[in-house]
Symmetry: C2
Subunit: 450 residues, 2 copies
């Protein structure tokens, strides 16, 4: 059931114009922050500024957390650092940390200073690597002591509840704040009132280290199917939690990064329109240049065979076709293996199995393509020799390309390099050089040899 955004925009605009603060607050109170964000996109800058001045800071904090950084920065600039600090204090700490990390240093310090104790907490979060557990986690969670009773725990929850957004898993800590167990809110509700937490909790609690890479976090969520996971430091002290909704974002980020690498684009982690032309240029020119220079060896290869080409110019007609087929077959194999490695269907120990399969596959694909190539080349006219050369080359090239395409990502893993850098274009370039060499050797042998 989608909210009618257009109607909402009209209402909000009217209320802002008439400065009807109470009505506006009442209207948005029922809405999900994500829908409010949609509505905000349709307002102009002055209306947005007015909006963020009128509504209460708690609601403003929720909404600000849902915006992209460019929009957040624009609003902070328009409403000033003082009100911004108040609003940021009301944001979830993981969203606040992400925002503050990207602000200019002087704004960041001013805002953190204005925030006092919450500022200290955020400074702590900012010390962690962006792509680590510490960089994703939030510090809003519920922690109880092992020696509390169920009744006492529920009373504590009632007292502190308004400040805590995520309280399904309740984490149990000892006197030194170390994580010792977990209990779900449901188990707490159905427990005997006098039962001790230590007796009803699950002491086999999974956790992740605060410096663990975010890819590892995604894999843990996929394996253990949790809705939230606690984060601990090297002493086992509970420092934060990561929730499934943040993991969904991380998973999408990681997939986008892999897709870009496979296409030989240096990965960007911003939305498309938020990325300046200069940054898009830099992300593409690197590989375009590298691949251009690598591919230029094909010029040298062709130069070597220029006499062969002159004597049978029809050979040149098939150059794009052959290297294209090699490139496609190689890209198919490479992409399949890269993704298999990423989702852990394939491990480095499977090298032999993968190569065996891909080689067999390449041979079968090569045969099929050779048949098609023979028929297609035959239509050019002339004798049987050219079609035979083309067919034999297609067979050899497709087989070679499939094997190479599968091998390179696995070699990358063995060399501790990200397999996605074995991008399709890189595989293509390597395959082109080998492919042309194969083609002209076969051509010389058939046309000029015995």
């Amino acid at each position: 059931m989608e909210t009618n955004i257009a109607a909402l925009v009209e209402k909000v605009r009217a209320l802002i114009l008439s400065q009807s603060a109470d009505e506006l607050i009442g209207l948005i109170d029922d809405l999900h922050p994500a829908d409010i964000v949609d509505m905000l996109q349709s307002l102009d800058d002055s209306e947005r500024e007015a909006f963020f001045r009128i509504i209460p800071v708690e609601k403003a904090g929720e909404i600000l957390g849902e915006l992209e950084f460019e929009d957040q920065a624009g609003i902070i600039d328009s409403i000033g650092l003082s009100r911004s600090s108040q609003i940021i204090s009301e944001m979830a700490t993981d969203d606040a940390a992400d925002l503050i990390a990207e602000l200019p240093a002087d704004h960041r310090d001013q805002i953190l200073d204005a925030m006092n104790s919450e500022g200290e907490e955020l400074r702590g979060l900012l010390r962690y690597e962006e792509d680590s557990s510490g960089g994703i986690m939030t510090t809003e969670y519920v922690a109880v002591k092992a020696d509390w009773t169920a009744e006492y725990t529920m009373a504590q929850l009632r007292k502190s509840a308004p400040d805590v957004h995520t309280a399904y898993y309740i984490y149990v800590i000892d006197a030194a704040d170390r994580l010792v167990g977990v209990i779900s809110l449901r188990e707490l509700v159905i427990a005997d009132l006098n039962a001790r937490i230590a007796d009803i909790m699950d002491d086999n609690v999974q956790s992740v280290h605060v410096d663990a890479d975010q890819e590892e976090v995604v894999q843990m969520f996929q394996k253990y199917r949790y809705l939230a996971l606690p984060v601990v430091d090297s002493d086992g002290v509970l420092t934060g939690i990561i929730t499934a909704d943040d993991v969904l974002d991380v998973a999408e980020e990681e997939a986008t990064e892999d897709i870009q690498k496979i296409a030989a684009v240096v990965p960007l982690d911003k939305p498309y329109f938020s990325t300046r032309l200069r940054e898009l240029f830099k992300s593409r020119i690197v590989w375009l240049m590298v691949l251009f220079l690598a591919e230029s060896i094909t010029g040298g290869i062709l130069q070597k065979f220029s006499d062969t080409m002159k004597s049978a110019i029809e050979l040149t007609f098939f150059i794009p076709l052959l290297i294209d087929s090699g490139g496609n077959a190689g890209a198919q194999a490479a992409t399949t293996v890269i993704r298999g490695l990423a989702v852990r269907d394939i491990r480095i120990k499977d090298l032999g199995r993968v190569l065996g399969r891909e080689l067999a596959l390449g041979l079968i694909l090569g045969c099929a393509m050779a048949a098609v190539a023979f028929l297609r080349a035959g239509r050019v006219g002339g004798g049987f020799e050219i079609p035979m050369v083309v067919a034999a080359s297609v067979f050899a090239i497709v087989t070679m390309a499939t094997a190479v395409g599968a091998l390179l990502p696995m070699a990358a893993v063995a060399l501790k390099v990200d397999p996605a850098t074995m991008s399709a274009p890189l595989v293509t370039t390597i395959v082109d050089g080998l492919g042309l060499t194969i083609y002209f050797f076969i051509a010389k042998a058939v046309l000029l040899g015995a």
Copy 2:
């Protein structure tokens, strides 16, 4: 904190051998099903069969739900349909539905018949499309009536709790089972005992239709950041829920599918080693053939310019280089736009903006590449003419390829086709034909014309 799987395997093996059922049950009771699955991979078939005969059906159901289908089928075959039915009854209904859907028809019917009422529930789930909300959802959820009190609701929860795994969001239904609101367990716990559910619930409850595509479900979870979402039919009746852990799986599936399409591989939805060679062959040969036949027009283009090539054979040296650069630039643009469309950074209304950016980007990339090409081609020796032709062609081809690469996915969306089918290889093929034509026109103009 990772569980030591090797030690676990040894212990389990010993307990199975000595038929110490109680000890085995005690040992695995503390473990997460995912860790048990790791342990099972190291057992042989007879040990696995013994394991699934010894342990209680409830635990067996949890574990079976975590296995891949091939392993599930193996176990069902070894322990027989009767015990399998008992175990499947204990599985989460979404996992049970997925398993049963892939079994041979006669096994499926036998198992469903043996399951009585749960069998009916599963038959209902099996009617939904695999990639829809109905295909992902589970039917284990908590629903309460709007006129209940908080106290009565908690009492009901205590009674039915053992059967329900997910009870953070509690859904509120009316007399006709229609979804009317939602309340979190936390809100329930802190509410006045005599409060009516209708007064404390949130009546602005998001939901998704049972036939909605799974991509839409992923987007809703990303937008609204829920841990669970209710599924309703066309009458608004609550039929199931989808939890965030299942959405994480779906998101990964969708990303893998897109990656495969971009590489011109017909998507497979099974893990790499579970896919037979025949299926891998079919997934690749389709596009290899299509692209081969499409690319063969380059043969016709080159045939047209065969005289030009004969008179200046050096022109052929650069053919792979030029079309490769065009292909890379086109693939970069296409992949960026396809991913931007998939994560909704780019919408169809952004067509003009995207083309404008990519055209500008193409011109700048083209200039940079032309400079490099000029220097590189100059090293081949001879005069200035060939390097000029190559440089001018690189400029034109990279610009054209970037624009075409960005345009095709957006055109696909406008034609209601999945943009990921505008794979890099397809873009490459289109760009090759145009690129060669541009190259030889420039060559003729410079070398043979005025």
